[in-house]
């Protein structure tokens, strides 16, 4: 019985930590993928299992975790309020070529990070950007400004606002 509570506690605890840390720490993985990846090895470690190495305990722990992941995603999908609680809202970093200092400071994203993301999609100047958005999963999405600069973006076939995105992990 205690394994179920321990897994649930660690799940919520790790989620809470990442929500406090902010989007900067979330890169290629979604928060839930990251929580899952962090937790599953722990289920088989003595810290979480109290030296109970039985398969029964491992199955109980992992099924509890998978169930929590499913319930979280289902609740996030059904309830916008719950989704906002679980996952960070996107933050606009650049608007029509203008850096938004307050947002950059709050998210701890440097100008160099913005430029690095721009370079990866073939953009050189801020003026070529319509939007740079730090998405809830920690990736920077770039929307080039309409006009000539879009021609420099390698993949123009992307749909809608998320024209191109790159991960903070990709930074050199």
């Amino acid at each position: 019985m205690e394994t179920v509570f321990r897994v649930a506690f660690v799940y919520v605890f790790v989620w809470g930590c990442f929500r406090i840390l902010g989007k900067r720490e979330l890169t290629q993985m979604s928060p839930f993928e990251l929580v899952t990846l962090l937790l599953i090895p722990q289920l088989f470690s003595r810290a979480l299992t109290r030296q109970d190495y039985s398969m029964t305990n491992a199955v109980i722990g992992s099924t509890t975790l998978f169930l929590l992941v499913f319930l979280t995603s289902a609740a996030s999908y059904r309830s916008a309020r719950f989704a906002r609680l679980m996952q960070a809202e996107p933050t606009v970093l650049v608007r029509r070529g203008q850096l938004l200092d307050e947002h950059l400071n709050r998210e701890r994203i440097s100008v160099g990070d913005i430029y690095s993301a721009m370079h990866k999609v073939g953009l050189q100047h801020l003026a070529q950007l319509e939007w740079a958005i730090l998405e809830g999963d920690g990736k920077i999405a770039l929307v080039p400004a309409a006009g000539g600069s879009a021609a420099q973006v390698p993949d123009q076939s992307f749909r809608g606002a998320a024209a191109n995105s790159t991960s903070l992990l990709d930074r050199g």
Binding site: V4, D52, M55, L67, Y77, R78, R95, I133
Partner: protein
């Protein structure tokens, strides 16, 4: 430039009423996933202890043993024998079923048996209780059954015990 042409944030996605839809596999799999933690919360996979109590004219024997145990976990088997006769019992042999005990590993019995899994208790005064404890380390999976027998000259009591070891 108007406000519409210079918005503060990019356009929001259109609102679509969310409706949770599960595939056939999910309809089967999700309840199955839920069953295990729920049964665990109900104590099905937890470690359990059971008490048995048998009485004869000379001996009152109470056995507390692990009825459910997990692999590589330690369960404590405790046998309390009480002299309910009016005279001192010179010897009482407490025998733990070999077939049962050998299904566990690292068995430690206190007081230590002189023969294999037979503990000899001597000079038990009237109304005196002696305790024999055994640490059982879950090794083989499945259900293990055995008997604990307390034998005195002219009297004997037996208690059946059963332990299920989860894999």
């Amino acid at each position: 430039m108007t406000t519409e042409q210079d918005p503060v944030s990019p356009p929001s996605p259109p609102l679509v009423a969310p409706r949770l839809s599960l595939t056939g596999k999910q309809l089967v799999g999700i309840p199955l996933l839920a069953v295990i933690p729920l049964l665990t919360l109900l104590g099905v996979f937890g470690e359990g202890r059971t008490t048995t109590h048998v009485v004869s004219p000379a001996v009152d024997m109470r056995v507390v043993y692990p009825s459910r145990l997990r692999y590589r976990q330690i369960g404590l088997l405790e046998v309390a024998v009480r002299n309910v006769s009016g005279h001192t019992l010179d010897t009482l042999a407490l025998s733990l079923d070999t077939a049962y005990v050998t299904r566990f590993s690292s068995v430690r019995i206190d007081p230590a048996p002189r023969l294999a899994y037979i503990v000899a208790l001597t000079a038990i005064k009237p109304r005196e209780t002696r305790l024999v404890a055994a640490e059982l380390w879950g090794q083989d999976y499945g259900s293990h059954t055995g008997h604990i027998v307390a034998t005195t000259p002219g009297d004997s009591v037996s208690s059946r015990i059963q332990t299920f070891v989860f894999p």
